[in-house]
Structure formats: C-alpha cells, structure tokens
Amino acid sequence: MTEREVVLDVPVQPPTDLFLPIPKKFLEEAYRGDDYVVLVGPQHPGSGHMRLILRIKGDVILEAIPDPGYVHRCMEKLAENRLYIQNIPLFERPAIMDTGNVTLGYVRAIENALDVEVPERAKYIRMILAELSRIGTHLYDAGILAVFLGHTTGFMWPFALREPIVEAITRISGVRVTSSFIIPGGVRRDVPWKTLEFVRKTTFVLEKRLKSFEKIFIRNPTVIERLKDVGVLSKEEAIKFGVVGPFLRASGVEYDVRAVEPYEAYDSVSWEIPISDHGDSYSRFLVRVEEIAQSISIIRQAVNELRSMPEGNIISEDILQEYSEVASSDIRGFFFKVFGNLVLPSGEFTSLTEAARGTLLYSIISDGESNIPYRARVITPGWYYLKGFMEALRGERLADLQAIYGSFGYFPPEADR
C-alpha cells in the first residue's frame, strides 16, 4: 500500500493562547509531522500535579516536556526572611512523609557551619527516625505506583503498613507526619525505652506483612508485566542526566550518600546498598523494596545500640551553652532562648543527605552577621531526577506512561519546593 496524503477541509491551527511552556516551533513541527501533542495533567487520575507535554507518533512517545511548578511554594525566598530555627518546619514541607531525612539535611548543614558535635545517643535516634521515614516513603510510593497501575489492593496494603510507622513516629515525636523533631545539636526529646521497644516490634510486624504484600503486589504477574523492561535508563544515561537515589542504583551505579559521605551513625551499623543492572521500572521498584529490608535491619541495630547507652544526653552542649544544665534533657521552654539568635559564620555550607527518593542538597550561604540565611538553596531528589524521568519516557508507549511515572515515585510537592 502506498502512502497518500490526506487533506482535511477542517481548518486546524496550532493553538496560540494556551499557556504552555513549549516553543511554538515545537507545536508547528508536530503538526506538520502528523504527530499528536498530548497534554497529561495537571489534574490527572494519578497522584501529584504536574503537566507532561508529550509528542506522540502512533502511540510511541517521541519527546516529553515537563511543566512543573504547580506546587512551587517559594521556599527559598521565605527561608531568606526567617530565622534559622524557623526554617526547620518550612524545609520539612516538601516531603512531609519523609520528615526524618528532610529535616536532617538542613540541620546538618547548620551543625557543620557551627562545628557542633552531636551526642551519640541523638545520632542513633535521628537515624531511627530517618530510616522510619525512608520505609514510610517507599511504602507511600509503592501505594501510588499501585494507583497508577489501577491496582486498588496494592494501594491499600502499603498504606495499612504505613500505619504502624506513623504510630511509631507519633510515639517518638508526638505528631503523625510533620515531626520537626531533629534540631541543631540533637533531637527535641529523649526517646524512652518503651517507645524504642515499640519501634523494634514494629519492624517485625512490617517484615511479616511485607511478605504478604510481596505475594499480592510485588510478585504479581500483572505488575511484573506492566513494569518489566519499561522505561529503561542505562547506566550512562543515568549518570549523564544526574539521576539520584534508588533510581540511580537501579541503573547500576553504586552511589549512596550514607556510604559515600557517612553521617550520623551510618558507618557504625552494617548494611548493604541494593543495586540492579537493568534500569527498568521494575528494578527501580525492587531496589526500593530491598531498601526497606535494609532499613529494618538498620533500625534494629540502632535500637540495640541505644539499649546500652545512658539516657538523657541528647542535645550538644556546644549549642546549649549557658542553658546546658536546665535544657539538656528537654529543650521545651528554652527553644527561643537557645536558638533565637543563632548566627552562622560567613561562608557557604553544603550538606548532602540520602533522603528516601535520593540525594537532597542544602546549601546555606551566610554573611556571618545576620541571624537569617543570606541565601538558602535546597534541591530535592524529585527535582534532580526529573530530567532522567523525561528521558526514560522517550521511545516508550503512551500506555506505559503511568507505569514509568509511578516507578519514579515522582512527588511534585517535593520536586517544586
């Protein structure tokens, strides 16, 4: 059959007044090349809000252009206008389910600037909180992946599994998600032995229920069919586009900030970096499932370590100074006095943290005079891997878009800040 030109009488013009962040040339080229331009979102049946502008030939995605910023909440500007200590809850908001890791990054940048050594007990408590949030976030992403695949049971299970984690965080800090528990120099309160025992028991519950989740969702043939060999990012591509976290490790790069530049007590517990060589959606998911097992192991080791430590010393004396007598075991009531007039020395202080979804960078630029940051830069993992996500879409079928989107666990509030 020979190709023939189809002439339509309908006057079709490339749209001009949609506020699309794409060049007019792109639309015109697509129009001339007989391709479709499909807009996905911002309101779409998945979770989170961003617009994807896809150029499609048949049903193969030729190019994907992101339109982020629907949840851009001006964090960097607001941080320049607030005290260092007021920025802890602010910087927690990008990813509230990952509360331990996001606050840890910011607090570590401040501690690095002030040269504060954190007490050993506080380090382990922080590590437990960070790993609990990591498990919670991975389960959240697994649930969202299930929503994207239309697998309702796969959504219900991880969210039921999240309940004991939320309960553990509540018992440690007092709130369900936004704990703001980690402060410069340590943590807000000591964690009593009873709570630590609850955390340890929670890990066994998680382990047991994860086995059933594995049968229901992870090893489910339909899930494997949807995810396997879809959205492949090779090792070279992943490095080139600066992908981070589990998504980088799924492409075969052994990079984890916890191992590369150890912070807290990660160098004194034993754990492994799960990696995969395939780089497809399924391995991106499996790497995170394996990370949950590693996190559980880290939490158990940390609880065992805390058993032999004396209770009480949880905030560094360098930061408390004259209040070290009264506030060392409980900072409540002295917050304003201790942290109100925190001034960082002049210079730039960059901290890297391995948040659940990948590298989290805080860069604080201080002038050495004001008690607010001159400039605070935060780059969340979602913003890092957005480029890699777009490249993974290229050459895939439109029907696989959901699987790839879900496998990246892209969370716009986190990416847009």
Partner: protein, 358 residues
C-alpha cells in the same frame, strides 16, 4: 429544562436526590500539596473513608467534590478553577490544611493564592496537616449540610467576656522578633577551613596545575568541598577540562548582592563514575555585574544542569547563553512578579497576629 431541574431539586423526589448525593461524595484527584499524604491515609484501610460513601475518582466530569489539599499556587489556581467548572452540579469544596485557610507557613509567599478566592468553599479543615479523622469529620459535616441545607461549624468555642480584664502593660504580649538582617554584608563563598583531608590537598594541587592561569583562587572550604573562584570568560574552558573528571552537576545557584552590584553564579560539580571523587563537591563560581546578567550555559558539558539553569532564569533572571529554553517561564505562573528571588523584591513583613475584622 429549568423546570425539570427545579422539579428534581424541590419536587417529591428531592429527598431521594439529597440522600443519594449525601452517600456519593466523590472527590476528584487533585493532590495540590503535601496534605495529600493524610488524604491518602483517610481513604486507605486504616480509616476507610469509603464507608462514608466517599471515594477518590480520577476524572472531574464524574465527580462532585474537590478536596483542596493545602497550598494553592498561582499556577494551580487556574487548574483548580477549570477543574471546578468541569464538574457537574451539585458540587462541593473542602479545603484541608492551614495553607488553604490563611496561608499557613507560606502566607507571604510570592506564588501563593488562597483557595477561597478561587472557588466557593464549604468547609475548612485546620491543621498542618490535619489528621485523617478531621478530614472525615469534614465529610460528615458536608453530608449534614446536604441534608439540612445549612453549613454548621463542627466545633463551638466557649466565649469569655474579657472586657473587665485590664492589660498588664501597653506593650503587646508577643515579644518582638529577634530577626536581624545586615543591610550590606560582605558575601564570601571561599572561606578557608582547616580540615584533615589529604586527598583534597592532592586534588587541589592537581587542579592548580591543570587549570593554570584560569582561576583566581582554589580553596578547601570544608572536608570534601573545594571552591574555585574564576572569571566569567574562563568558565567554559574550565568546564571542558573538569567535565572529564566530574560527570554531573549537583547544584546551580545564584546569589544576588545588590549592594556590590553583582550576582554570584555557582556550579557545584560531583562525580558518579570515579569512586574517590564521589563525596567531593567542586564549586566553580564567578561574579557577574547586575546590569549584564548573562552567563554561558554549561549544559553542553553537563546535561543535568539543564533544569537547574532554567529554574535560575525563572527566579533570578540570569540568562544562560546556549540553553535553548531561556526566556520562558518554567516553575512560575505567567502572572507571577518577575524574578522574585532578587533581593530587591521584598515580601510582606512578618506579623504575629492579625486584627480580626468585626
């Protein structure tokens, strides 16, 4: 047509219609911000929002409830309006979270909008974030509203007569903010620091011989952190030399210093492929005059810098020569004030309490 609608709303079948609406409140998927975490919990097995006849659904055309989860940005406000207008009558709006009420943490942000300015709101759920219980309480309140026709607050506060109490002093009880902002501070990115880092000293020596004559100074600012001060004209040459070792960009940052009439543009580089260089962050920075805010784009060497450069154009208006997407908004809505992160764009001043209008 209008007659039949009137008949449906007030005829003999009206109670049945109300009853049907009450038990089929379907919120559309519109996860606007972080409160979505608690919304997901409310509809998952722990709290089971479905027992109230409420179930999240994908498409606006078949739903009748919007749950606004927290902050609404200028960009999202338009989408919220469009989604609201797509939904068939009767339709309801519940706003979750402190951001949706009065702005919450982000109240003076340049990109924020209150949802009550965009769509008519039936119920507010306070909290940051509200618990799943309080969200389900709002859904129960909405069901009551559908049946009774009037919206009632689910919490009544006791009122106390304060007229007899004298204020202790003329001063307000809230202490003034200790915030101090230096008006013209010197900004220095390469403050040297004494650290025990042998590999770093070796690396600096290597760089000094490799980049001979191209840099102003190379400083170790911390363990694993190296700062290279360069001129704008040499940036591309330096990037081409460093790109062999450092394969990705960790950060593109701009610092606005109006009192020195300059911007500092910095690129923080790191490596995934060389094991020893993995923790190292090399910071190349250059000062450019504020009047000529142009900088060569380094996306040729590091494609990972692309979106970071576009973000910096959005926020600061630095034109990265060579990046094809310059001149277009990326993160910000078209009606946002231009280049909001420059220091001369001021936010509204902090205030502890707001006078209640009577």
């Amino acid at each position: 047509m209008d007659d039949s609608v009137d008949f449906l709303n007030s005829g003999i079948f009206a109670p049945f219609k109300k009853w049907g609406t009450k038990w089929s409140l379907w919120p559309v998927h519109l996860v606007t911000a972080c409160c979505g975490v608690e919304l997901a919990h409310a509809y998952a097995s722990g709290y089971d929002g479905e027992r109230l006849g409420s179930l999240n659904y994908g498409i606006a055309r078949q739903t009748n409830l919007i749950i606004v989860e927290g902050a609404i940005t200028r960009k999202m406000a338009r989408v919220l309006k469009i989604t609201y207008e797509q939904m068939p009558e009767p339709k309801f709006v519940i706003v979750m979270g402190a951001c949706g009420l009065k702005g919450g943490l982000f109240w003076n942000g340049y990109h924020m909008v209150r949802p009550s300015d965009v769509v008519p709101v039936d119920f507010f759920v306070p909290g940051c974030p509200p618990t799943p219980e309080s969200l389900l309480r709002a859904i129960r309140a909405l069901q009551d509203k559908i049946m009774s026709g009037e919206a009632r607050s689910t919490i009544e506060f006791e009122k106390y007569d304060l007229s007899g109490i004298k204020a202790r002093s003329e001063q307000p009880l809230v202490p003034p903010s200790p915030r101090y902002c230096s008006p013209t501070p010197p900004i220095k990115l390469d403050v040297p620091r004494d650290v025990d880092w042998e590999f770093g000293e070796k690396l600096v020596e290597e760089m000094k011989s490799e980049l001979k004559g191209l840099y102003k100074s190379i400083t170790i600012t911390d363990k694993n952190r190296i700062a290279i001060h360069v001129e704008k004209k040499d940036v591309v040459t330096i990037a081409s030399k460093l790109s062999k070792k450092f394969d990705h960009v960790k950060n593109v940052n701009v610092i606005d210093i109006p009192h020195e009439d300059s911007f500092i543009v910095e690129y923080q580089l790191s490596s995934y492929s060389v094991k020893e260089l993995m923790p190292v962050i090399v910071n190349i920075f250059a000062r450019i005059p504020r009047s000529d805010a142009r900088f060569p784009s380094l996306t040729v060497f590091w494609p990972s810098a692309d979106y970071l450069e576009r973000e910096m154009y959005d926020l600061f208006g630095i034109w990265f020569d060579g990046n094809p997407a310059m001149g277009e908004r990326f993160l910000l809505a078209p009606d946002t004030p231009e280049f909001p992160l420059r220091k001369d764009r001021k936010l509204r001043e902090e205030q502890y309490y707001e006078e209640v209008k009577q």
